[in-house]
């Protein structure tokens, strides 16, 4: 196990192993997304209150979950980078940032599209939409900071500190905003004892969530591979690889 991790953390082996993993992850993404979309768009019945328009949930909810997951993923990577000084962790964190920001944007855009028929407005200052918007600002702040520092090593470490400060703040921001104003429908999936969502709608939602996870890992490995190549461009194995 440890030798595998050590191997995985060295850029050269990471490049090779990630290259092998990407096609599998991509295949899983396609598989789950096709199944999720099929069950979501054709099998699941229309909602008795919201009609067909609730189906945007199968994109909206997974992207909102991913927006939080990616931030936590980045925080874990940043902590590993700052504590054990593993360069690969920083590659992972910085490659995730743009993806996280995209998921956040997607959640906001689909939320706004969903809000129009439900609440009668493109944008309302609802608590969860607002904290999602603030999360987008946190991502953009990280991206701006990392791109403003020329030295890649310093940029990664500074970004790491910012991410860790952000991860302490996210729950505080979330609850303060929630307390400030809420209009959003309550969570319907996390109540595991008696979920208030029907199985025929829950299944496609979970399938789509899995698809989004695999999609994220496919893309983050692809981005990390390019990043590794760029950072290691002076090392022998890259020159050997690219000639």
């Amino acid at each position: 196990m440890w030798t595998f991790l050590h191997k995985f953390a060295s850029p050269k082996h990471f490049y090779r192993i990630a290259g092998k993993m990407i096609p599998w992850l991509a295949a899983l993404t396609v598989l789950f997304m096709v199944a999720g979309l099929y069950f979501g768009l054709f099998v699941a019945p229309p909602d008795y209150q919201q009609g067909e328009s609730y189906r945007i949930m199968f994109i909206h909810v997974p992207s909102a979950w991913m927006s939080l997951f990616v931030y936590v993923f980045m925080a874990v990577a940043a902590a590993i980078h700052l504590i054990w000084n593993i360069k690969l962790a920083d590659v992972m964190a910085s490659s995730s940032a743009v993806l996280g920001a995209s998921f956040t944007f997607l959640a906001l855009a689909t939320g706004s599209l969903w809000g129009k028929p439900m609440w009668g407005a493109w944008w309302v200052w609802d608590a969860r939409l607002t904290s999602e918007l603030i999360l987008l600002f946190l991502y953009l702040g990280y991206i701006a900071l990392v791109s403003a520092i020329d030295d890649k090593r310093a940029a990664g470490r500074a970004g790491g500190v910012l991410i860790l400060v952000g991860v302490v703040n996210i729950p505080i921001i979330h609850y303060s905003v929630e307390w400030w104003n809420t209009l959003h429908q309550g969570p319907t999936v996390t109540k595991f004892d008696k979920p208030s969502i029907h199985l025929s709608m829950l299944l496609p939602l979970l399938l789509m969530a899995a698809a989004f996870q695999f999609y994220f890992f496919t893309l983050v490995l692809m981005r990390a591979r390019t990043e590794v190549l760029e950072r290691e461009r002076r090392s022998a194995w890259v020159e050997e690889l690219l000639g």
Partner: protein, 225 residues
């Protein structure tokens, strides 16, 4: 332990003395604070009822921006003349020294804002009960603004144009402070109890005092490496 206290006090004295030798600069954030608040009646409406309603938000947003602009100088001059590097090399724990610097900064920029607040409340015709809570919320909230802001300043101190970037990094983190503080002031104006909001602000301040100095110290070491 004694040497730590001595270092803390020496740094505090030095920063305060430096600030008082540049008295002109001391007034700038205050004038800025006052001017932003003045713009609202001009831009929105001089209607007393409307002003009274938006006053907590207006004063607090002005305070956020004034704190942000005054923070830029927190480490800048020390960075330029190299004394920040000496601070990092000192045998004393850096987080404690950071607290001294932030405290000195708050005494010269945050505290005057707290003292100016009743005047601004008067300008926006806030009721007396709300003015009291406004002062209390600023007294608890502005140190927190300085602490959170210090993390951002420490991260951007080595950059040539850190100003706008600082805003981008720090403003999202200021949101909880803004929410609790303005909610306390609005509740006071409506005659509701405000203890809950003020306690939450105080809890955030306790969290900030405990965690922020470590983040600032780590960020400074990165920025100067």
């Amino acid at each position: 332990m004694d040497s730590l206290v001595a270092a803390f006090l020496a740094l505090l004295r030095r920063d305060l003395m430096l600030a008082f030798r540049h008295r002109g600069e001391l007034a700038n954030p205050l004038i800025f604070f006052l001017m932003i608040v003045t713009l609202y009646p001009l831009g929105v409406s001089p209607d007393v009822n409307l002003l009274r309603q938006i006053a907590p938000g207006v004063i607090w947003i002005a305070a956020l921006l004034a704190a942000l602009f005054s923070l830029e100088n927190l480490f800048r001059t020390d960075f330029d003349d190299g004394s920040l590097e000496q601070l990092l090399l000192s045998p004393q724990p850096l987080p404690v020294l950071v607290i001294a610097k932030v405290l000195a900064h708050w005494l010269v920029s945050g505290l005057p804002m707290v003292l100016l607040a009743p005047l601004l409340g008067l300008l926006l015709s806030m009721p007396a009960a709300a003015v009291k809570v406004l002062v209390a919320s600023l007294a608890i909230g502005t140190p927190l603004l300085s602490l959170i802001g210090a993390v951002g300043v420490a991260l951007t101190v080595g950059l040539r144009r850190g100003g706008l970037l600082l805003t981008l990094l720090i403003l999202p983190l200021y949101i909880p402070v803004l929410i609790f503080a303005t909610s306390a002031v609005s509740a006071a104006a409506a005659g509701l109890p405000v203890a809950g909001q003020l306690y939450l602000l105080a809890a955030l301040l306790a969290l900030g005092v405990t965690l922020a100095p470590f983040a600032v110290a780590a960020a400074l070491r990165i920025s100067l490496s």
